[in-house]
Symmetry: C2
Subunit: 134 residues, 2 copies
DNA sequence: CGATACCCGATGTTTTTTGTCAACTATAAT
DNA sequence: ATTATAGTTGACAAAAAACATCGGGTATCG
């Protein structure tokens, strides 16, 4: 099990915007410089955050990104889901010949993994961008 | 964030051995058939479990694997660490030009990720093979 | 000795993750 | 209006991780 840099990057971006958007939109170029992130990749992530309604964009000169709601109403889970689909993906199953066969109800492990997922989701739901800013 | 099939497979194997080793060692061939796992790959995983001292092997005809300690003393974390190094790997950092620069102390996110790691490890430490057998 | 089953290193394939590129559109400032 | 800035979009490429296979070994039982 491992985390992805995607999630880490996305959180850095959101956090940077939360801190610096008081006087207008924050441009990707600025985030990228200050956080030392790969610029085109970051752009993609910002797109996902926008599609996930976590940020809104302003185009043109002086443009950039703003948070779409108050930092206290954006959880880490929201951010990770926006860029990764799910904060934690359970892949419980095995190959049976050629086709993948997912676990059925009787599978003990499925329960374990889902329990873990709940734990992880719970942790991430209870941390907001605002809570990281203190 | 996602889990790996490796971890899932390894747990299935350990569980299968726990259930079936009463009358002697359990062969990989048997586990592989009953659990529908890829056989050579499973062999690799069993090797890792052996190096991690979770199982012991018996060679030759009628050979196979046995648990190296009581199911109640093998946690899921033990198993995952044996095959994956760490149950949950934190990759907190970013590229700065060419060289990777890891987070320093001031990094807020590092704390978040480490907190999550603790949560995950805790969950996995508190589940034993025995507890899955009920 | 022969059949079984673990041992082990090397190699190959697939998928996911990470990163790059180029052409486009909207906006502000001049 | 023109130009520079900055987001939009989709396709592509590289790297890493995960998943899997292969082949030649060694130990043990019958």
């Amino acid at each position: 099990m491992r985390m992805t840099t995607q999630g880490d990057y996305a959180l850095r971006c959101i956090l940077a915007i939360a801190y610096k958007s008081a006087k207008g939109p924050v441009a990707i170029s600025r985030i990228v410089e200050e956080e030392h992130l790969p610029s085109d990749y970051t752009e993609q992530l910002m797109m996902k955050l926008r599609h996930g309604k976590l940020v809104k964009s302003v185009r043109g000169v002086k443009g950039g990104y703003l948070l779409n709601r108050h930092p206290s109403r954006i959880t880490l889970k929201d951010v990770l889901e926006a860029v990764e689909g799910q904060a934690f993906k359970v892949i419980c199953g095995h190959k049976n010949g050629r086709k993948k066969k997912m676990c059925s109800g009787e599978c003990v492990l499925k329960g374990v993994w889902m329990g873990l997922k709940r734990k992880i989701d719970g942790y991430l739901e209870n941390k907001t961008i605002a809570s990281l800013m203190k």
